[in-house]
Symmetry: D2
Subunit: 129 residues, 4 copies
């Protein structure tokens, strides 16, 4: 263990993927000294910018033809890039806010299981009003 700096030594659990991606993003940012620009509000706006680019790819596509349209490899690649940009800013924002997003998402999903009992909600989706 003494000379083992890896996050995946034989005696430790491997680094979870979300934590690993978060670390890679942090290293990318630190290497460029961009952290001073990336306060939470700035990152939230950057996230919105990427969500906007994602929305633009979908906006005029007929609702029932969207899955088929993005089955095309070049288009799937393109929308995968936009989805990735959203993920990157989301992970970065969570990191800056000190949130461990993997466990947080698991907890949230467990809460949804309790809140939306399958037998009560089968076939109807909760609507905001």
């Amino acid at each position: 263990m003494t000379q083992q700096p890896s996050p995946t030594s034989p005696h430790e659990r491997p680094e979870p993927e979300i934590a690993e991606l978060t670390r890679l993003i942090r290293e990318f940012v630190d290497e460029r000294e961009w952290a001073p620009f990336q306060d939470p509000k700035s990152l939230a706006l950057a996230l919105v910018g990427e969500v906007g680019e994602l929305a633009e790819l979908l906006q005029w596509v007929p609702a029932d033809g969207a899955v088929e349209r993005f089955a095309d490899p070049a288009r799937r690649q393109r929308i995968g890039e936009e989805l990735s940009d959203v993920l990157v800013y989301l992970l970065r924002l969570a990191d800056v806010l000190g949130v461990d997003l993997g466990p947080a998402a698991r907890d949230k999903l467990a809460g949804s299981h309790r809140r939306f009992v399958a037998d009560e909600w089968r076939g109807r989706i909760p609507e905001k009003s």
Copy 2:
């Protein structure tokens, strides 16, 4: 290892976390028969709804006080839930579009390394204009 309850056999690599979360979300949706509501445009709007809830937590916080504000455990918990909601819809949207988001995000990050050479971009962040 013989009574391994995991979905991965001892001879396979463990399921990556993003794929696992995606699968758990898919099972949640399928159990409730919500898939017919969740075409890509509907999911994109749901994602926007969650990004909006995240934005509301940050909107009036002073930019340089946001990290400190969310260091409070109850507030960190709260914003972690909103970040998780965004992640859940993002993973679901990627799944419906056939995008494997873990590898896609890694590729995108590799592209950013090539595009933003550290020595050229140190201390300044690319601005949209």
Copy 3:
């Protein structure tokens, strides 16, 4: 006309509606001393919050049934409130940034007329790719 209580004298053009709404919002904000909170980034996040609430009303509605659904008076009233919230933050953000949004929107529309010549674009809408 002699006892005209309007802010416009009989010899001036009446205040355009967008400028008037902008002024009413500014007075509302000033009366509560909220201006110090409302820097442009904070207002942009507030705008995103309202866009998110609008998206939530539309997210699970079938695409081809949305107009009919909101023909119901209570639902039209409800979505009208969300659209209004978006407008209010948009006008406020423009005001803080020194943009006169009525003329700006007219200019933008004139630009769109030049850019999307009707005979070339009839029946097809420009797609982002």
Copy 4:
């Protein structure tokens, strides 16, 4: 009056600016036969796309330097175009949903006056939690 098709004949009230802009946008869309693409969900995503472009202009600007930055005429022109794009899709969405946005915004503002009594809310802004 007999040959006067104008919305501003001497005997009628002039067309309010928001209704006029809405009409101009509708004519622009109809001339290009784009209405079939512009169901409410598609327009909501287009609105999100424009909000994203607006966010990108603000994302890395220091919060307390944004007003000064956009005092520059070229930058003010640029952000005015993005604000206008948001307004255009907002007015179009309201139109498609049958909402008269001028009166709706006035009503909403009147509601905010009742809800946020100035003497109670002076100097503090309501926070989402």
